[in-house]
């Protein structure tokens, strides 16, 4: 694995494709996060809310996206993480996580990040700013 500091603008981190979304994954996230809004776990409740079926928690996708950076914890940490929720994630959707380096200021790296579904549509989009530790650059 290469170091964050060696990345060049326009280069992408290795993308991660998640397994198709299943119900137990969303039930686990509900339990772990405390977000029990039933549109994420119970079909009838999702339908009552006008949805075709249950949808993933936006924060589940946002939580997943951050793992592109977990391996770099010795080199730096996520200082800012900003996300706009753009589309819904349904059961069986296949989500891919992506990050591209957009800006570099000495010890501060700003990445454009997004998660896209199997149709290439963005479901969440934003930025991650990594603050590198002084000894790392």
């Amino acid at each position: 694995m290469s170091r964050l500091a060696e990345w060049k603008i326009g280069e992408s981190l290795k993308e991660i494709q998640l397994d198709p979304v299943d119900r137990i994954t969303l039930i686990k996230y509900a339990g772990a996060s405390g977000d029990y809004n039933p549109i994420h776990t119970i079909d009838e409740e999702a339908q009552k809310a006008g949805l075709p079926g249950i949808i993933a928690h936006g924060m589940w996708t946002m939580g997943n996206l951050a793992k592109l950076f977990t391996n770099f914890y010795e080199e730096g940490y996520i200082q800012d993480y900003t996300i706009r929720f753009k589309g819904m994630v349904f059961l069986n959707d296949v989500v891919t996580l992506q990050a591209e380096l957009a800006e570099e200021n000495e010890n501060n790296l700003r990445f454009l990040v997004r998660a896209v579904n199997q149709n290439g549509n963005e479901v969440i989009k934003g930025t991650v700013t990594c603050q590198l530790y002084a000894s790392s650059y």
Binding site: L18, Y29, G31, A32, N37, P38, A49, T70, I78, Y81
Partner: protein, 149 residues
Amino acid sequence: MFKEHIGKQSNKVKNIVERGAVKKFAEAIGDLHPIFVDEETGKNSRYSRNIAPPTFPRVFDYGTIDGLNLPNKGLIHGEQTYHYERPLLVGEELTCYSVVENYFEKKGTQGEMGFLVLESFGEDDMGQVVFTSTQTVIITEAVRKVLIG
């Protein structure tokens, strides 16, 4: 109906970055990395202990804001930001609270949409802010009508 709450703050609540909760959360987002869950890896890291994933503050209790009654259904999460001074450390205690930062309405595809911006904070035992988060919640016209009754 939400504008009057701008500037209001919740009561402060102490939260612990609990080891079991971090593990459960890391598992739920498919990120069971040793820096989050393995004590040895944490000890040998630059943090000298395990850390929590950046979206972990989702689990904290931020207290209640007097008079602010949000429905538990029909809200849309529009935007979310986190700002950190450093990662959260497993085992530490943080004092958390929220402030109603803003409320405004905009014409959208589903009528007049309400945007509620909540800012939340986590402070360490010295009162230093460790993280700030901003959550923008969209409240549709239909939901607001129900609230008014």
